[in-house]
Protein backbone atom coordinates (compact mmCIF):
# COMPACT_ATOMS: atom_id res chain seq x y z
CA UNK A 1 0.00 0.00 0.00
CA UNK A 2 0.97 3.61 -0.58
CA UNK A 3 0.54 5.35 2.78
CA UNK A 4 0.84 9.01 3.82
CA UNK A 5 1.38 9.89 7.49
CA UNK A 6 1.14 13.46 8.81
CA UNK A 7 2.93 13.91 12.12
CA UNK A 8 6.24 12.27 12.93
CA UNK A 9 5.82 12.14 16.69
CA UNK A 10 6.16 8.91 18.64
CA UNK A 11 3.01 7.34 17.26
CA UNK A 12 3.45 8.47 13.65
CA UNK A 13 7.12 7.54 13.49
CA UNK A 14 6.65 4.16 15.14
CA UNK A 15 3.82 3.30 12.77
CA UNK A 16 5.85 4.52 9.79
CA UNK A 17 8.66 2.18 10.85
CA UNK A 18 6.31 -0.80 11.18
CA UNK A 19 4.67 -0.18 7.80
CA UNK A 20 8.02 0.37 6.06
CA UNK A 21 9.21 -2.92 7.49
CA UNK A 22 6.03 -4.55 6.23
CA UNK A 23 6.93 -3.60 2.67
CA UNK A 24 4.60 -0.61 2.26
CA UNK A 25 5.49 2.63 0.53
CA UNK A 26 5.45 5.25 3.30
CA UNK A 27 5.72 9.06 3.23
CA UNK A 28 5.91 11.02 6.49
CA UNK A 29 5.14 14.77 6.63
CA UNK A 30 6.02 16.97 9.59
CA UNK A 31 6.54 20.71 9.93
CA UNK A 32 9.37 20.24 12.41
CA UNK A 33 12.55 18.69 11.04
CA UNK A 34 13.66 17.51 14.47
CA UNK A 35 10.69 15.19 14.83
CA UNK A 36 11.98 12.93 12.05
CA UNK A 37 14.49 11.78 14.67
CA UNK A 38 11.66 9.59 16.03
CA UNK A 39 11.85 7.44 12.90
CA UNK A 40 13.69 4.15 13.38
CA UNK A 41 17.23 3.81 12.06
CA UNK A 42 17.20 2.44 8.54
CA UNK A 43 13.73 3.84 7.73
CA UNK A 44 13.34 3.34 3.99
CA UNK A 45 10.36 5.63 3.35
CA UNK A 46 10.22 9.29 2.33
CA UNK A 47 10.19 12.27 4.66
CA UNK A 48 8.79 15.68 3.70
CA UNK A 49 9.18 18.90 5.65
CA UNK A 50 5.93 20.91 5.59
CA UNK A 51 2.53 21.62 7.08
CA UNK A 52 0.26 18.61 6.65
CA UNK A 53 -2.96 20.65 6.43
CA UNK A 54 -1.61 22.83 3.61
CA UNK A 55 -3.24 22.01 0.26
CA UNK A 56 -0.03 22.65 -1.69
CA UNK A 57 2.06 20.46 0.60
CA UNK A 58 -0.46 17.63 0.36
CA UNK A 59 -0.54 17.94 -3.42
CA UNK A 60 3.25 17.88 -3.58
CA UNK A 61 3.48 14.61 -1.67
CA UNK A 62 0.85 13.06 -3.94
CA UNK A 63 -2.05 12.73 -1.50
CA UNK A 64 -4.42 11.99 -4.38
CA UNK A 65 -2.56 8.77 -5.13
CA UNK A 66 -2.36 7.22 -1.67
CA UNK A 67 -4.33 4.22 -0.45
CA UNK A 68 -4.49 5.47 3.10
CA UNK A 69 -3.92 8.75 4.96
CA UNK A 70 -3.21 9.01 8.69
CA UNK A 71 -3.14 12.29 10.62
CA UNK A 72 -1.17 11.63 13.80
CA UNK A 73 0.06 14.99 15.07
CA UNK A 74 -0.43 15.92 18.71
CA UNK A 75 -3.33 18.26 17.90
CA UNK A 76 -6.80 16.71 17.61
CA UNK A 77 -8.16 19.60 15.55
CA UNK A 78 -5.26 19.61 13.12
CA UNK A 79 -5.67 15.86 12.64
CA UNK A 80 -9.40 16.15 12.06
CA UNK A 81 -8.88 18.96 9.56
CA UNK A 82 -6.07 17.16 7.69
CA UNK A 83 -8.02 13.89 7.45
CA UNK A 84 -11.13 15.69 6.20
CA UNK A 85 -9.08 17.52 3.55
CA UNK A 86 -7.61 14.19 2.39
CA UNK A 87 -11.04 12.57 2.27
CA UNK A 88 -13.35 15.33 1.05
CA UNK A 89 -11.02 17.35 -1.20
CA UNK A 90 -8.57 14.73 -2.49
CA UNK A 91 -10.87 11.71 -2.38
CA UNK A 92 -8.69 9.44 -0.23
CA UNK A 93 -10.95 6.52 0.76
CA UNK A 94 -9.27 5.60 4.03
CA UNK A 95 -8.52 8.68 6.11
CA UNK A 96 -7.61 8.32 9.79
CA UNK A 97 -7.39 11.00 12.43
CA UNK A 98 -5.93 10.56 15.87
CA UNK A 99 -8.35 12.31 18.18
CA UNK A 100 -7.77 11.95 21.89
CA UNK A 101 -11.12 13.45 22.84
CA UNK A 102 -13.46 10.41 22.64
CA UNK A 103 -16.59 12.51 22.02
CA UNK A 104 -15.07 14.35 19.08
CA UNK A 105 -13.76 11.01 17.78
CA UNK A 106 -17.30 9.60 17.72
CA UNK A 107 -18.84 12.66 16.03
CA UNK A 108 -16.29 12.61 13.22
CA UNK A 109 -16.60 8.84 12.84
CA UNK A 110 -20.24 9.50 12.02
CA UNK A 111 -19.01 11.88 9.31
CA UNK A 112 -17.10 9.00 7.70
CA UNK A 113 -13.59 9.58 9.03
CA UNK A 114 -11.77 6.75 10.72
CA UNK A 115 -10.92 8.12 14.11
CA UNK A 116 -9.37 6.60 17.16
CA UNK A 117 -8.97 7.96 20.60
CA UNK A 118 -5.87 6.90 22.48
CA UNK A 119 -7.80 7.83 25.61
CA UNK A 120 -10.52 5.23 25.10
CA UNK A 121 -8.18 2.56 23.73
CA UNK A 122 -5.88 2.88 26.72
CA UNK A 123 -8.74 2.98 29.19
CA UNK A 124 -10.33 -0.18 27.78
CA UNK A 125 -6.98 -1.93 27.61
CA UNK A 126 -5.99 -0.98 31.17
CA UNK A 127 -9.27 -2.22 32.54
CA UNK A 128 -8.82 -5.49 30.69
CA UNK A 129 -5.31 -5.86 32.13
CA UNK A 130 -6.55 -5.15 35.65
CA UNK A 131 -9.50 -7.49 35.45
CA UNK A 132 -7.44 -10.03 33.55
CA UNK A 133 -10.06 -10.11 30.86
CA UNK A 134 -8.44 -12.38 28.30
CA UNK A 135 -10.79 -11.54 25.47
CA UNK A 136 -10.26 -7.80 25.10
CA UNK A 137 -6.59 -7.29 25.41
CA UNK A 138 -4.89 -10.53 24.58
CA UNK A 139 -3.99 -10.05 20.95
CA UNK A 140 -3.31 -6.35 21.37
CA UNK A 141 -1.16 -6.93 24.43
CA UNK A 142 0.81 -9.71 22.80
CA UNK A 143 1.60 -7.61 19.76
CA UNK A 144 2.29 -4.47 21.76
CA UNK A 145 4.66 -6.28 24.08
CA UNK A 146 6.44 -7.92 21.15
CA UNK A 147 6.88 -4.52 19.48
CA UNK A 148 8.14 -2.86 22.64
CA UNK A 149 10.57 -5.69 23.34
CA UNK A 150 11.91 -5.35 19.83
CA UNK A 151 12.22 -1.55 20.00
CA UNK A 152 13.93 -1.73 23.39
CA UNK A 153 16.33 -4.33 22.04
CA UNK A 154 17.27 -2.15 19.09
CA UNK A 155 17.80 0.84 21.36
CA UNK A 156 20.05 -1.25 23.57
CA UNK A 157 22.15 -2.28 20.60
CA UNK A 158 22.39 1.29 19.24
CA UNK A 159 22.78 3.35 22.37
CA UNK A 160 25.94 3.29 24.44
CA UNK A 161 24.42 3.17 27.95
CA UNK A 162 22.08 0.17 27.92
CA UNK A 163 20.19 1.56 30.91
CA UNK A 164 18.70 4.25 28.69
CA UNK A 165 16.81 1.61 26.75
CA UNK A 166 14.31 0.82 29.44
CA UNK A 167 11.44 1.62 27.17
CA UNK A 168 8.99 4.30 26.20
CA UNK A 169 8.08 6.92 28.66
Amino acid sequence: MNILIVGSGRVGATLAGLLDEGGHQVTVVDRDRASFAHLPAGFGGTTFLGNGIDLDVLRQVGVDKVDAFLALTDGDNRNLMAAQVAKEIFGVKRAFAKCNDPIRAEIYRAKGLMTFSRTSILAVLLRAMLEQDPEVGEVLLRRTLALERKLAGEEARDAAPPAAAAGER
Partner: protein, 219 residues
Protein backbone atom coordinates in the same frame (compact mmCIF):
# COMPACT_ATOMS: atom_id res chain seq x y z
CA UNK B 1 -29.79 37.92 18.96
CA UNK B 2 -27.94 35.36 21.06
CA UNK B 3 -24.33 35.02 19.90
CA UNK B 4 -21.70 32.60 21.14
CA UNK B 5 -18.15 33.87 20.68
CA UNK B 6 -15.66 31.00 20.80
CA UNK B 7 -12.26 32.32 21.83
CA UNK B 8 -11.71 35.34 24.07
CA UNK B 9 -8.57 36.76 22.52
CA UNK B 10 -8.37 40.36 21.36
CA UNK B 11 -10.80 39.80 18.49
CA UNK B 12 -13.22 37.75 20.59
CA UNK B 13 -13.22 40.27 23.44
CA UNK B 14 -13.86 43.32 21.27
CA UNK B 15 -16.44 41.46 19.22
CA UNK B 16 -18.30 40.47 22.40
CA UNK B 17 -18.05 44.00 23.76
CA UNK B 18 -19.44 45.48 20.56
CA UNK B 19 -22.29 42.98 20.40
CA UNK B 20 -23.26 43.67 24.02
CA UNK B 21 -23.20 47.42 23.39
CA UNK B 22 -25.46 46.85 20.40
CA UNK B 23 -27.94 45.16 22.72
CA UNK B 24 -27.29 41.52 21.91
CA UNK B 25 -26.97 38.62 24.32
CA UNK B 26 -23.47 37.16 24.26
CA UNK B 27 -21.55 34.21 25.71
CA UNK B 28 -17.78 34.05 25.34
CA UNK B 29 -16.15 30.61 25.64
CA UNK B 30 -12.54 31.02 26.74
CA UNK B 31 -10.24 28.21 27.80
CA UNK B 32 -7.64 30.20 29.76
CA UNK B 33 -8.80 30.80 33.32
CA UNK B 34 -7.04 34.13 33.83
CA UNK B 35 -8.20 35.49 30.52
CA UNK B 36 -11.77 34.33 31.23
CA UNK B 37 -11.66 36.06 34.61
CA UNK B 38 -10.37 39.27 33.05
CA UNK B 39 -13.14 39.31 30.44
CA UNK B 40 -15.70 38.72 33.17
CA UNK B 41 -14.35 41.73 35.06
CA UNK B 42 -14.74 43.86 31.93
CA UNK B 43 -18.04 42.58 30.54
CA UNK B 44 -19.87 40.87 33.40
CA UNK B 45 -21.09 37.27 33.64
CA UNK B 46 -20.89 36.44 29.97
CA UNK B 47 -17.97 34.02 30.05
CA UNK B 48 -17.79 30.23 30.11
CA UNK B 49 -14.30 29.10 31.14
CA UNK B 50 -13.96 25.98 29.00
CA UNK B 51 -12.49 24.69 25.74
CA UNK B 52 -14.82 25.69 22.90
CA UNK B 53 -13.80 22.74 20.75
CA UNK B 54 -15.57 20.27 23.04
CA UNK B 55 -19.19 19.74 22.19
CA UNK B 56 -20.52 19.53 25.72
CA UNK B 57 -19.36 23.04 26.55
CA UNK B 58 -21.07 24.37 23.46
CA UNK B 59 -24.26 22.75 24.76
CA UNK B 60 -23.61 24.22 28.20
CA UNK B 61 -23.33 27.64 26.58
CA UNK B 62 -26.78 27.05 25.10
CA UNK B 63 -25.80 26.72 21.47
CA UNK B 64 -29.15 25.10 20.63
CA UNK B 65 -30.82 28.48 20.95
CA UNK B 66 -27.95 30.58 19.58
CA UNK B 67 -28.52 32.67 16.48
CA UNK B 68 -24.82 32.53 15.69
CA UNK B 69 -21.64 30.79 16.79
CA UNK B 70 -18.49 32.70 15.83
CA UNK B 71 -15.12 30.96 16.14
CA UNK B 72 -12.31 33.48 16.50
CA UNK B 73 -9.44 31.60 18.14
CA UNK B 74 -6.01 32.10 16.59
CA UNK B 75 -5.86 28.57 15.19
CA UNK B 76 -7.59 27.75 11.91
CA UNK B 77 -7.99 24.03 12.57
CA UNK B 78 -9.56 24.75 15.95
CA UNK B 79 -12.00 27.24 14.43
CA UNK B 80 -12.98 24.64 11.82
CA UNK B 81 -13.71 22.00 14.45
CA UNK B 82 -15.60 24.49 16.67
CA UNK B 83 -17.83 25.37 13.71
CA UNK B 84 -18.38 21.77 12.65
CA UNK B 85 -19.27 20.76 16.20
CA UNK B 86 -21.58 23.76 16.44
CA UNK B 87 -23.32 22.59 13.27
CA UNK B 88 -23.68 19.18 14.82
CA UNK B 89 -24.82 20.37 18.25
CA UNK B 90 -26.90 23.39 17.41
CA UNK B 91 -30.08 23.69 15.50
CA UNK B 92 -29.90 24.18 11.75
CA UNK B 93 -31.14 27.77 12.08
CA UNK B 94 -27.99 29.15 13.71
CA UNK B 95 -25.22 30.72 11.65
CA UNK B 96 -21.68 29.48 12.14
CA UNK B 97 -18.85 31.80 11.22
CA UNK B 98 -15.14 31.01 11.32
CA UNK B 99 -12.13 33.27 11.48
CA UNK B 100 -9.46 32.07 9.05
CA UNK B 101 -5.85 33.24 9.27
CA UNK B 102 -4.37 31.47 6.25
CA UNK B 103 -6.48 32.66 3.27
CA UNK B 104 -5.86 29.30 1.56
CA UNK B 105 -7.93 27.65 4.28
CA UNK B 106 -11.06 29.50 3.16
CA UNK B 107 -11.36 27.02 0.28
CA UNK B 108 -10.96 24.11 2.69
CA UNK B 109 -13.58 25.46 5.09
CA UNK B 110 -16.09 25.89 2.27
CA UNK B 111 -15.43 22.37 0.98
CA UNK B 112 -16.01 21.06 4.50
CA UNK B 113 -19.34 22.81 4.91
CA UNK B 114 -18.38 26.07 6.67
CA UNK B 115 -19.44 28.74 4.19
CA UNK B 116 -19.02 31.87 6.25
CA UNK B 117 -15.40 32.71 6.85
CA UNK B 118 -13.63 35.89 7.86
CA UNK B 119 -10.01 36.27 6.88
CA UNK B 120 -8.30 39.28 8.39
CA UNK B 121 -5.34 38.53 6.16
CA UNK B 122 -7.55 38.82 3.10
CA UNK B 123 -9.19 42.00 4.36
CA UNK B 124 -5.77 43.56 4.86
CA UNK B 125 -4.64 42.38 1.44
CA UNK B 126 -7.77 43.91 -0.09
CA UNK B 127 -7.12 47.22 1.62
CA UNK B 128 -3.55 47.29 0.37
CA UNK B 129 -4.61 46.33 -3.15
CA UNK B 130 -7.28 49.04 -2.99
CA UNK B 131 -4.48 51.60 -2.68
CA UNK B 132 -2.72 50.35 -5.79
CA UNK B 133 -3.63 51.99 -9.11
CA UNK B 134 -4.89 48.79 -10.71
CA UNK B 135 -6.60 47.45 -7.62
CA UNK B 136 -9.86 49.34 -7.99
CA UNK B 137 -12.01 46.20 -8.00
CA UNK B 138 -12.81 44.96 -4.55
CA UNK B 139 -15.21 42.13 -3.67
CA UNK B 140 -16.38 43.38 -0.26
CA UNK B 141 -18.45 40.55 1.16
CA UNK B 142 -20.71 37.63 0.27
CA UNK B 143 -24.39 37.85 1.20
CA UNK B 144 -25.67 35.17 3.51
CA UNK B 145 -27.94 32.52 2.08
CA UNK B 146 -27.43 33.48 -1.54
CA UNK B 147 -24.71 33.27 -4.12
CA UNK B 148 -24.48 37.02 -4.33
CA UNK B 149 -21.75 39.40 -3.28
CA UNK B 150 -21.15 43.10 -2.88
CA UNK B 151 -18.36 44.56 -5.00
CA UNK B 152 -16.80 47.98 -4.83
CA UNK B 153 -15.20 49.20 -8.06
CA UNK B 154 -13.23 52.38 -8.63
CA UNK B 155 -13.72 54.47 -11.75
CA UNK B 156 -10.08 55.41 -12.34
CA UNK B 157 -8.97 58.44 -14.37
CA UNK B 158 -8.54 57.51 -18.00
CA UNK B 159 -11.14 54.74 -17.96
CA UNK B 160 -13.51 54.90 -20.94
CA UNK B 161 -16.55 55.12 -18.65
CA UNK B 162 -15.48 58.50 -17.16
CA UNK B 163 -18.02 61.16 -18.20
CA UNK B 164 -20.47 58.57 -19.50
CA UNK B 165 -23.82 57.73 -17.87
CA UNK B 166 -24.08 54.73 -15.52
CA UNK B 167 -26.14 52.68 -17.96
CA UNK B 168 -23.25 52.82 -20.47
CA UNK B 169 -21.29 50.46 -18.21
CA UNK B 170 -23.37 47.54 -19.53
CA UNK B 171 -22.68 45.17 -16.66
CA UNK B 172 -23.69 41.53 -17.24
CA UNK B 173 -27.27 40.48 -16.64
CA UNK B 174 -28.05 39.62 -13.05
CA UNK B 175 -25.86 42.38 -11.62
CA UNK B 176 -27.09 45.66 -10.22
CA UNK B 177 -25.37 48.97 -9.43
CA UNK B 178 -26.57 49.97 -5.99
CA UNK B 179 -25.03 53.42 -5.77
CA UNK B 180 -22.15 55.73 -6.56
CA UNK B 181 -19.81 56.85 -3.80
CA UNK B 182 -18.39 60.30 -4.52
CA UNK B 183 -16.57 62.53 -2.04
CA UNK B 184 -17.80 60.52 0.94
CA UNK B 185 -21.46 60.71 -0.14
CA UNK B 186 -23.61 58.10 -1.78
CA UNK B 187 -25.54 59.02 -4.92
CA UNK B 188 -28.29 57.01 -6.58
CA UNK B 189 -27.12 55.12 -9.65
CA UNK B 190 -29.83 56.28 -11.99
CA UNK B 191 -29.38 55.73 -15.70
CA UNK B 192 -28.19 59.17 -16.83
CA UNK B 193 -25.96 60.17 -13.91
CA UNK B 194 -22.49 60.75 -15.38
CA UNK B 195 -19.55 58.97 -13.80
CA UNK B 196 -16.50 60.93 -12.69
CA UNK B 197 -12.91 59.82 -12.18
CA UNK B 198 -12.49 58.79 -8.56
CA UNK B 199 -16.07 57.55 -8.19
CA UNK B 200 -16.58 54.20 -6.55
CA UNK B 201 -19.56 52.17 -7.63
CA UNK B 202 -21.20 49.56 -5.42
CA UNK B 203 -22.31 46.50 -7.40
CA UNK B 204 -24.47 43.59 -6.30
CA UNK B 205 -23.72 40.51 -8.43
CA UNK B 206 -23.77 36.71 -8.38
CA UNK B 207 -20.35 35.45 -7.26
CA UNK B 208 -20.17 33.26 -10.38
CA UNK B 209 -19.98 36.26 -12.70
CA UNK B 210 -17.56 38.35 -10.64
CA UNK B 211 -14.83 37.93 -13.28
CA UNK B 212 -17.22 39.07 -16.01
CA UNK B 213 -18.19 42.19 -14.06
CA UNK B 214 -14.51 42.96 -13.63
CA UNK B 215 -13.72 42.57 -17.31
CA UNK B 216 -16.71 44.70 -18.43
CA UNK B 217 -15.47 47.49 -16.18
CA UNK B 218 -11.77 47.37 -16.85
CA UNK B 219 -10.98 45.59 -20.13
Amino acid sequence: MYVIVAGGGDIGFHLAKGLIEAGHEVMVIEQDRHRAQWIEEQLGSVVLNAPADEGRYQLEAGCQRADAVIAVTGEDAKNLVICQLARYNCGPHGRVIARVTDPKNEIIFKALGIDETLSSTRVLMNIIEQELPTGGFLPLMPLTGSHLEIIEAEIAPGMPSVGKPVRALQLPEGSLIGGIVRGGKVLPAVGDAALQAGDRIIVLAPTAIEAEVRSRLYD
